[in-house]
């Protein structure tokens, strides 16, 4: 027995969901969706749950993560209810629901809070730079340390507990009992989907977008590896230097294309842009750009006289690592692949 909660749609609206009331339950969205099947029938079911405000049903569901937002449902919807954007909003809502700190929800729901958090971090970095007397070597040294510390701490304190929370909600709470071997067997799916978004290939008209995304993920992960573990900014290894350039150019190009699409709104997926979407693509673009410029300035030997550039890069980096990665859209990278992992585990449950 589930109790209807008509107030939920108001809450969901803050995460970006558009006209929920327009839906008249025709089911065209599900019919047209290439990823939906009999067992996982979406998006109609999720829309209905959202209309009725069945929070308990939504939070234990993995369905929102199984959608890759091709936008076909939104294009087909006879009432222009925008089911694709609703699924996106549900992913944001779920991100907030998984996050034990509550910051995700706050940043998603309130643009002023987001802006404040970004500004605060910028001020802290500038203050730190001044405290270091704008000595580029010292700042760079701490910057590198920060990168390593941030990766470890964000993962250990935020992302890991949140994934466990997700497991608790979607596997433990619905009473799915899976043997340990199921978790081992499904690991392959986790890795494949995390790095390739293989499932998105099931969407129609989506090959190029998938390819761009795939290249971006590779570029991003490699750049992360190159800067953090190969210490790109301080290395003199020519191969590593060139590798970093190539990676940052890839990020620049793909994110530039993503931003262009969101501005031009040329496909259903890029019509609706929540502030969190803008932060994600723009900050990724800025990361690529500033990293590229910093290394260029180093190679031209003018960074010493242009400390500001590194400071800007560090500000972007800190905002990215402390806001977007743990609480923003970056988490989709993890939750989406873990959703497929848990889904696979659920399929292998004990009869």
């Amino acid at each position: 027995m589930a109790t209807i909660n008509p107030g939920f749609s108001d809450e969901l609206k803050k995460y970006g969901a558009f006209d929920l009331n327009a839906c008249y339950n025709c089911g065209n969205c599900t019919a047209v969706c290439t990823l939906s099947d009999e067992e996982n029938s979406f998006p109609r079911k999720m829309i209905r749950y959202s209309v009725l405000g069945l929070k308990d049903e939504i939070e234990v569901s993995l369905d929102p993560w199984l959608c890759y937002y091709c936008g076909e449902c939104s294009t087909t919807c006879p009432r222009e209810a925008d089911p694709g954007e609703l699924m996106m909003s549900l992913r944001r809502w779920l991100t907030a629901r998984y996050d034990w700190t509550g910051l995700s929800g706050l940043l998603y729901k309130s643009l002023p809070a987001s802006v404040f958090a970004f500004l605060l971090l910028a001020v802290v970095v500038i203050w730190f730079g001044i405290a270091q007397k704008l000595n580029v070597q010292a700042i760079m040294h701490y910057g590198h340390l920060f990168e390593m510390a941030a990766i470890t701490l964000v993962f250990a304190l935020i992302l890991l507990p949140n994934i466990l929370h997700m497991w608790w909600l979607t596997i433990y709470k619905p009473g799915i009992k899976a043997p340990f071997t199921a978790y081992v067997k499904s690991l392959q799916d986790l890795v494949v989907h995390m790095f390739t978004q293989k499932r998105a290939l099931g969407c129609d008209d989506n090959r190029f977008r998938w390819f761009e995304h795939f290249v971006l993920v590779l570029g991003y992960l490699l750049l992360l590896f190159t800067t953090v573990f190969l210490n790109w900014f301080e290395t003199s290894n020519l191969f590593v230097i060139v590798l970093g350039y190539v990676e940052s150019i890839i990020i620049l190009m793909v994110t530039f294309d993503f931003v262009r699409r969101r501005i031009q709104q040329d496909a259903a997926i890029s019509i609706n842009s929540h502030p969190s979407d803008w932060f994600f693509v723009i900050w990724l673009f800025l990361m690529g750009l500033t990293a590229f410029l910093v290394r260029l300035f180093i190679d031209l030997n003018i960074l010493e006289t242009n400390v500001w550039l590194y400071l800007v890069h560090l500000i972007i980096l800190v905002q990215w690592a402390l806001l977007i990665v743990p609480f923003g859209k970056w988490t989709h990278f993890l939750y989406r692949s873990f959703a497929i992992y848990f889904h696979r585990v659920g399929e292998l449950k004990m009869e």
Binding site: A2, T3, P6, L20, L52
Partner: protein, 642 residues
């Protein structure tokens, strides 16, 4: 006895001739006594053949005609028309059915089919031999119409009839006009109120010198028939003089010690024995409800207009037609249906409309503020087990309209529609869309799995297995449960009984033909309009009112009526009144009269339908049907058994 009978045998393009040898039929009947001419024809109903028949009848001076073709339901009137055009009385035409009864039925046996066709045509020839020319029964008609019920349909019909030139008696049982529509506030889809519509019509009725309105009035007796109904109308007094000051009236209402449930508000409030339904209601003079008045006399002491000396009057009126616009009752759920009468926040849709009427700032009921409203549709309509199988047509639209009204009038309202499929047909569909856009939630189930009402910890819950959520069990905590009750026939059917107007399976007044004769009843001269005939919305009621008014007017307009002559007749010599015919007659067409010292039965031709119910019960075999007499039938049987 006819000597010049023309017989036409139709091929029906092969429909008949593929199985029946039509030439053989023609040969077999051409030598029958009296047959002067026999022909086969490809299509008897074709224009060319009709013209040939007219020429034949005229030139050859035929005195009887038989066409052997399809069912008389298709073409009896066609060929009667042909004989009339040729100057021959149409009752000299007899129709033989050799398609539905022969060729189609016996396509497996051509020889047998041909034999049967021969028999049937011979029987028709036997009947036409005895046929006589008949003239329609002429009846004088009074150019006046009684319209029963001054609701929206009755008033509209009355105005229309008066405009056309009839004298109209508008007879309303209540003391106030307007019927059900006066009880509604804003209406779908224009937001005009029921009161506004009623006021408009009332003003027109009062302006028209040919409409006489009687309130508190009922037809208590009827004699006569179409063209000449002699009715007795009993008019109850209001017990008020025409001049009445508002001040004194309020005092009289205040002082009246009697308090009864107010039916105008569907019993959610009470009223005094002195009452008017709402301040500007028409007629504006209040009335005293003598059924509940204790005659304590207190009102007389404070209001000089109160007049207990007024007496009930009985008027004798003569009208040519009666138009029934008696309306409907809202379905009253039995105690316990969806908690009605047991759980105190369960009300019906009409009651809910009145609750909205009386609440301005906040929606309050039983001292509690209402936020979550659950509407349960199809209560008393489309019943699985009950007798009301029909859809009441207006309720989906009305509910959604009311839900929107509530949502716009009060803050924080949530509407939940527990429906069985929404039927906001036509223009009302925009309201369904609007309510959906406003966030109303629709939940759906089948009739065999209706929602369930439950009370837990003082809170009322409505549960449903929702079809739209894959049959998931859902529940809503409702502050108010509104049962969407449909329309049922009026509890009081005295006027229907008095006029013997038949009812359909749904217990509403029945028309002759649902599609082709939608406002006439089998009682000649009695027409029906509005929701007394079956559930209708206002638009549909207006359509039927105007249609019934036209039909009633057409009966009385010329001052004379021509009725079918094929009725029963009584042999005055052999009849000894036993009354059995009178008991058997469904139309009260018999009168007991004295003739040469004995009592006999007499048929009133304008009432008789020629149904023949009286024939088999007559102990002295004194009744015959004109045009289908014993002699006619016997002559046909003689041929068939030969």
């Amino acid at each position: 006895m006819k000597k010049k009978i023309g017989v036409y045998i139709c091929h029906c393009g092969g429909n008949i001739s593929d199985y029946v040898d039509v030439n053989k039929v023609r040969e077999a009947v051409e030598s029958e006594a009296g047959v002067f001419l026999s022909k086969t024809t490809m299509f008897a109903c074709a224009d060319s053949n009709q013209k040939d028949m007219v020429t034949d009848i005229k030139e050859k001076q035929l005195d009887g005609v038989v066409v052997a073709s399809c069912s008389p339901k298709l073409h009896l009137l066609t060929f009667r028309g042909v004989t009339e055009r040729a100057g021959l009385n149409k009752y000299n035409y007899v129709h033989a059915n050799i398609r539905e009864q022969v060729s189609w039925a016996h396509s497996d046996n051509k020889t047998g089919a041909t034999e049967k066709a021969i028999q049937i045509v011979k029987a028709a020839i036997a009947k036409v031999r005895n046929a006589e020319s008949l003239e329609p029964v002429k009846v004088k008609s009074t150019k006046a119409v009684a319209v029963v019920g001054a609701g929206i349909a009755g008033m509209r019909a009355a105005i229309e009839l008066a405009e056309a030139g009839a004298e109209v008696y508008l007879i309303e049982r209540e003391f106030f006009v307007g019927g059900r529509v006066a009880q509604w506030d804003d209406l779908c889809v224009t937001d005009e109120t029921g009161k506004e519509l009623i006021t408009r019509l009332y003003d027109e009725v009062m302006k028209h010198k040919h409409v006489t309105l009687f309130t508190g009035a009922e037809i208590v007796e009827n004699k006569g028939s179409v063209g000449n109904f002699q009715i007795k109308v009993k008019v109850q007094p209001r017990h008020f003089k025409l001049q009445c000051s508002g001040n004194e009236l309020q005092k009289a209402i205040d002082i009246c010690p009697v308090e009864v449930p107010d039916e105008f508000n569907f019993n959610i409030t009470t009223r005094k024995a002195i009452y008017h339904n709402y301040p500007s209601e028409y007629p504006q003079l209040p009335a005293i409800d003598m059924k509940s008045c204790t005659r304590c006399g207190k009102c007389e002491t404070v209001c000089s207009a109160v007049d207990f000396s007024q007496k009930t009057e009985v008027l004798n009126l003569k009208v040519g037609s009666i138009l029934l616009a008696t309306g409907f009752d809202p379905y009253e759920p039995p105690k316990g249906e969806f908690g009605y009468g047991e759980i105190n926040n369960v009300v019906t849709l009409p009651q809910f409309k009145r609750i909205i009427h009386y609440n301005d700032e906040k929606l309050m009921y039983q001292g509690k503020e209402i936020k979550n409203i659950a509407y349960i549709y199809c209560v008393g309509s489309r019943q699985l087990n009950g007798e009301n199988k029909y859809c009441s047509r207006y309720c989906c639209t009305s509910t959604i309209h009311t839900a929107i009204t509530a949502k716009k009038k009060y803050k924080g309202i949530h509407n939940f529609h527990f429906n069985r499929g929404i039927r906001t047909y036509g223009k009302a569909e925009v309201r369904y869309d609007e309510s959906s856009r406003l966030g109303d939630i629709y939940l759906q189930s089948f009739e065999y799995d209706p929602p369930v009402i439950e009370q837990r910890n003082g809170q009322t819950f409505v549960k449903i297995k929702d079809l739209l959520t894959a049959n998931k069990e859902l529940e809503v905590a409702a502050d108010l449960v509104v049962l969407v009750t449909g329309m049922v026939p009026r509890k009081d059917n005295s006027i229907g009984n008095l006029l013997k107007v038949p009812k359909g399976r749904d217990k509403f007044f029945n028309e002759i033909h649902m599609k082709l004769r939608p406002v006439e009843t089998v009682i000649d001269g009695v027409t029906i309009a509005g929701a007394g005939q079956g559930p209708k919305n206002i638009v549909e009621s207006m359509n039927s009112a105007l249609s019934a008014a036209t039909k009633s007017f057409s009966l009385i307009d010329s001052g004379e009526l021509a009725l079918e002559p094929t009725v029963a007749e009584v042999n005055e010599e052999t009849c000894e009144w036993c009354g059995k015919c009178d008991e058997a007659c469904p139309y009260s067409a018999f009168e007991k009269v004295e003739k040469e010292g004995k009592m006999i039965a007499k048929v009133i031709p304008s009432v008789c339908k020629g149904c023949g119910m009286c024939l088999p019960v007559c102990s002295s075999n004194s009744i015959d049907l004109i045009g289908l007499s014993d002699k006619d039938v016997e002559s046909m049987i003689d041929v068939l058994i030969k």
